[in-house]
């Protein structure tokens, strides 16, 4: 994981460094004098080749210093530290929401394949993955915040303000996790060991819960992991639509302000979070699937 993260920082740093324009001007703002600008350029090493700049950045990064924001002059680390928990809160509740909805629906759909429930469920799921989250978000604001006045239109005070963004964010992943759960469940209940279980006289419910689900979860979990990445990406849009003070919005704003260190910081944090989640998933596997546990020890 560490080498991957180093790779990530370099990749991102390199991409960002392709950005045209002069960071010095960004830092000093419109009023600044030429001298001040070139002075700063020197001082911040903007004239150095990218690889050197990257080296310096990494040196600082290892000491926990993510640099200072061009536009606000505040420490990127503390800024992100302040914002990330909000994004985490949002994405976490979204993933929890989707898992809680999708797994049961997926299982029921599979066990009642081609039933009305299954058909409707799958159609909704399909439409779910086909809707742009920001579009849905806008519409939900109109309906629930403006017309029904049930929920706040944005911002972050209290649980109520979490509902709309979390739900919006959850839609797509809920849909795709449902689909995976269903199809893997379908595959599992066709397995011989399910028949063996039935032949033992195990009741339908137990067969599903004890024998089928555990096996079906394995692929489902993979998708949950991947979906978390999608959620982090989606946060960028959702946070913008719902004025949620997370790093997703911070990143977009920073991009518009061409606040390179901030953008860099955000993406790196995103990547780290994503990697950690996937690590978590791997560990989770070994609990569910003895075959993997075996390969671990």
């Amino acid at each position: 994981m560490i080498p991957v993260l180093i790779g990530v920082t370099f990749l991102v740093f390199f991409i960002i460094s392709l950005t045209p324009g002069d960071p010095a001007v960004m830092i000093l703002g419109n009023g600044a004098t030429e001298e001040a600008i070139s002075e700063l350029r020197e001082e911040m090493g903007f004239n150095e080749p990218v690889i050197i700049q990257y080296g310096n950045y990494m040196k600082d990064l290892l000491t926990g210093d993510m640099g200072t924001s061009y536009s606000t002059g505040k420490s990127v680390g503390s800024e992100i530290g302040q914002r990330f928990p909000n994004t985490f809160k949002l994405t976490l509740s979204a993933i929890v929401l989707s898992v809680m909805i999708s797994i049961p629906i997926g299982v029921v759909s599979a066990t009642r394949q081609y039933s009305l429930f299954d058909n409707i469920g799958m159609i909704i799921a399909l439409i779910g993955i086909s809707m742009p989250s920001f579009w849905v978000g806008l519409i939900l604001i109109i309906i629930f915040a403006l017309n029904l006045r049930w929920l706040p239109s944005g911002g972050m005070d209290g649980l109520k303000s979490l509902i709309l963004p979390a739900f919006t964010l959850a839609i797509a992943s809920t849909a795709s996790i449902t689909r995976t759960t269903r199809s893997s469940m379908l595959e599992v209940i066709r397995q011989d060991y399910i028949d063996t279980a039935k032949a033992k006289g195990v009741s339908r419910g137990v067969v599903i819960r004890k024998h089928a689900l555990k096996n079906a979860l394995i692929p489902a979990i993979t998708v949950i992991g991947l979906e978390f990445g999608v959620l982090l990406g989606g946060a960028v849009l959702t946070e913008t639509v719902f004025s949620w003070p997370g790093i997703g919005r911070l990143m977009v704003e920073s991009i518009q302000r061409k606040d390179t260190p901030m953008v860099l910081g955000c993406i790196i944090v995103f990547a780290v979070a994503f990697s950690l989640v996937n690590l978590l998933i791997d560990i989770l596997y070994s609990f569910i699937d003895p075959r993997i546990k075996a390969s671990y020890n």
Binding site: I123, L146, S153, F242, L250, K258
Partner: protein, 521 residues
């Protein structure tokens, strides 16, 4: 199959109509079935009225960039800084300079300003403001990149005694006091700034004291009970600025009572606020000029005729309608009508005349060019201009640049034509110098116009102490620059503020919401 199609349709329709139709009744609800909406809308506020509103919530479109009054140069941050800090002078509602921290002042010579400051003004940390703090603060502002241009005219500041400072300007500078009202000229406690707290818990002398800044979310301040200026005491016990980037969401938040005031209300929501019995719309003409600039150093815009042609070619009304739904004033001048020396020039929307001028300039069949823009509104403006130019046979491509890059490149004189804006304080010099003065090339003089006559007039204008003479100079300067036509003035937009009807003391300056401390329920 049928089941599927049916469901698909139903869902699509539900999504569509629920949101689509229901939004209209809501809008009408305000006037048609007012009682109904009364019942729902004003319920919440009513209840809170009973326990007297403790908190004033104001929606900002962007987060503030800094709590250091000398560390930013943007509207949002200024709103907050003005509550936390004082300057030596401030503007009154009639836009005259009046003392704030200053007690009195005199001008021994055209370049010397001796300012007496009020005694017993306490900073939030209980220490008293002294002349030393004033000197320190103004000196500091000269070293702070984002505001160092504000007091550029200042030669030196010296402490005469604990309550007197003497400021010497480089040249005789008529509008000097105007520069002292800028947030960049705020007076800070030297001790605090040197304590190295980096404005985590800023200390000022203002009517409100700092509570917290939740990045990207909100900024809270509470009333400063022992504020030195009894007449301008803060009204609300607590004020919270909420950051809501989405325009629509800002309006909704206002309508649902999530916030009490919306700074920068989206222009297309004016009607809603006006129609709602619970809300009140405030507008004011601004000193903000939106213009379409041409790089006079770059062909074909080095040709005066072409530039004049463009001044005839652009349908300012359309631009204004599309950019701000017409919530502004078309302008023929780079000075706002409210400003000293404003005089409309005689450019009108006249494509034929434009074509003629182009032909005269040697471009009968037009030419190809690029329009630079940045941000959503300027993008829309550029799109209209693009269409206008098409009508006089000029094909243009729009290039969207990210703001930082945009400014950067324009300073470097790279842009051919560009959609820009300029917000100035009410003294004309603060517009003319940056935009037209030859030494401002490489700075805000994006059109790169360098003209000795302009320079002379600008210098004359700033050093002229007699008001009528000044006006005369600016009138001449104005007429001349409009003939040179380095840019197409488009419009000055109105400041739009929506507020809860229950509020009193909401005031707008040409720069928008101000004197927030005076707002109360």
């Amino acid at each position: 199959m049928k089941k599927f199609l049916a469901l698909l349709l139903v869902l699509v329709l539900v999504l569509g109509t629920v949101a689509g139709c229901s939004s209209k009744p809501a809008a009408e609800a305000t006037d048609n079935d007012a009682p109904a909406s009364e019942g729902t809308d004003s319920q919440a506020p009513a209840e809170e009225e009973a326990i007297a509103k403790e908190e004033l919530k104001i929606a900002l479109s962007t987060d503030i960039t800094s709590l250091d009054p000398q560390g930013h140069n943007d509207v949002a941050s200024e709103r907050v800084s003005f509550l936390l800090y004082n300057r030596l002078f401030r503007l009154n509602t009639d836009f005259e300079v009046v003392p704030d921290l200053a007690e009195s002042w005199e001008q021994p010579s055209p370049t010397e300003w001796v300012i007496k400051i009020k005694e017993g003004v306490m900073f939030h940390d209980g220490t008293e403001m002294k002349a030393s703090d004033v000197k320190f603060s103004l000196d500091r502002s000269l070293t702070m990149p984002k505001v160092q241009h504000v007091l550029a005219e200042v030669e030196s500041i010296e402490v005469v005694d604990d309550y007197t400072v003497k400021i010497t300007t480089k040249t005789a500078f008529a509008p000097f006091l105007f520069t002292l009202v800028h947030a960049g000229a705020s007076i800070l406690p030297q001790a605090y700034v040197e304590s190295g707290d980096e404005f985590a818990n800023p200390i000022g002398s203002g009517p409100y004291t700092f509570v917290e800044w939740v990045s990207g979310d909100k900024i809270s301040v509470v009333k400063n009970e022992n504020y030195f200026d009894a007449d301008n005491m803060g009204q609300m016990p607590k004020i919270t600025f909420k950051v809501i980037p989405e325009g629509t969401s800002r309006t909704i938040a206002l309508e649902t009572g999530e916030v009490d005031v919306v700074d920068e209300l989206p222009s297309n929501d004016i009607a809603k606020v006006e129609e709602s019995p619970d809300l009140k719309m405030y507008t004011s003409a601004s000193t903000r000029l939106d213009y379409y600039g041409m790089n006079t150093a770059m062909a074909p815009f080095d040709n005066e005729l072409v530039r004049q042609a463009f001044n005839y070619a652009i349908d300012k009304e359309s631009v204004m309608i599309v950019a701000i739904d017409g919530a502004g004033v078309e302008t023929n001048s780079i000075l706002a009508p409210s400003m000293l020396g404003y005089k409309a020039s005689d450019y009108t929307y006249d494509p034929e005349k434009a074509k003629a001028l182009l032909a005269e300039a040697g471009y009968p069949d037009g030419f190809e060019m690029t329009i630079w823009a940045s941000g959503d509104q300027r993008k829309r403006m550029a799109e209209v201009i693009q269409a206008n130019l098409m009508d006089i046979g000029i094909t243009s491509t729009i290039e969207m640049l990210e703001w930082g890059t945009y400014i950067d490149a324009l300073m470097a004189g790279e842009g051919q034509t560009f959609v820009m804006g300029w917000t100035s304080n009410p003294d004309p010099d603060s517009t003319l110098t940056p935009l037209y003065y030859s030494e401002s090339v490489g700075g805000m003089n994006f059109t790169r116009i360098e003209d000795s006559k302009i320079d002379e007039l600008i210098l004359a204008g700033r050093s002229e102490m007699d008001l009528d003479k000044r006006i005369a100079i600016y009138n001449e300067l104005h007429a001349y620059t409009m003939e040179k036509a380095p840019l197409v003035p488009l419009f000055t937009k109105n400041n739009l503020v929506g507020a809860n009807a229950g509020l009193s003391g909401v005031e707008l300056s040409p720069q928008g919401l101000w004197n927030i401390e005076k707002i109360s329920y």
